[in-house]
Amino acid sequence: MTLIRHLLLIAVLFGASTAFAQGSSLARSDRAATISNVPAEVLVVLAKEEPGEIDPQLKKLTALRRPPFNSFRSMQILSRPKLTLTPGKDALVSLPNGRRVKLTLLRVMPDGRYKVKAAINRPDKSDYLPLLQVVASAGDPFFVAGQTYKGGTLVVGVIVDPKKTTQ
């Protein structure tokens, strides 16, 4: 290999690495600057295996018709609180069984998804869900299900930045 080729190779590699580093740092700084507040929505659904009505508002949420949710024949929205997630600050949502969901926005990942921490307490007992960390893209929910309530099961869906829903 001659000096010419080496010069060419070094120039391309140097330029590419510099561009990548600068592009990445710009992307990170952009995200850091725009992460201040992110809207979120918590969907509290009472699901039962006995036949009944599926709330029309859930029709678009096709994930609730697939396993492990497909054994439920009725679904009723109990509440749908909207909140604002601020990085590092806890946001609380009360559940109908007296427990509370605690949500914390941790950061925005390099791929644009939100890293969120969730916990659900259980009064006078150890926490029902001590810790859950997820990454979720804007508009795509994650679910916590399994709490028994009024003969059914609570399905809690959390959607960060719900305006960008793809469901």
Binding site: L3, A19, L26, D111, G112, Y128
Partner: protein
């Protein structure tokens, strides 16, 4: 101009290990006199070591005896003349063209680097407030502590085909009535 050309050729010969020991030592001293030159020297030496390593690896994979036997067989084979039309050379050596090629190649390299830089800068950053995320969709569990309960993590397909995380936790504490 002539001295610059001579310097360039000397550098190239130095890198290729073609200089006489005293000339190589002089070039090395000259490079080491400045921080930029010393850095350039280190880069070349690293490159040379890497190339040697790769060459050694490749050499280890070649059956040299078989290769030389084949070359000797080809050389000893009778030559059969073939009438072919005279070819026009694709490249023509022009006096002074070597230097132009060096700078031309470097210019192409920097142009390519600049193009890569512009593409990265101009491409969307996946700003979560303003544009669509660049790559990933859906939701995914990174960490979960079920505490005193038992639980399961599911993935369920969303309406857009994306994977959505479902954490299912039994409401009964393990070991408690």
């Amino acid at each position: 101009m002539e001295s610059a050309k001579t310097e360039d050729e000397k550098l190239q010969m130095f890198f290729d290990g073609e200089l006489a020991p005293e000339e190589a030592a002089a070039v090395r001293r000259s490079l080491q006199a400045s921080p930029e030159g010393a850095a350039q020297l280190r880069e070349w030496e690293q490159l040379r070591v890497a190339m040697r390593s790769v060459s050694a690896d490749w050499a280890g994979q070649i059956d040299s005896d078989a290769l030389f036997a084949r070359i000797e067989a080809d050389l000893s084979a009778p030559v059969i003349p073939i009438d072919r039309p005279a070819r026009t050379p694709a490249f023509r050596e022009v006096p002074g063209g070597r230097e132009r090629r060096v700078w031309g190649a470097a210019a192409i390299g920097f142009a390519a680097a600049a193009a890569i830089f512009l593409v990265v800068i101009a491409s969307p950053t996946g700003d979560p407030q303003g544009g669509a995320p660049a790559v990933a969709r859906g939701s995914e569990v990174l960490e979960v502590d079920f505490g005193a309960n038992t639980g399961t993590i599911f993935e369920v397909e969303g309406g857009a085909g994306q994977s959505l995380a479902v954490v299912w936790i039994d409401d009964e504490e393990v070991g408690l009535p």
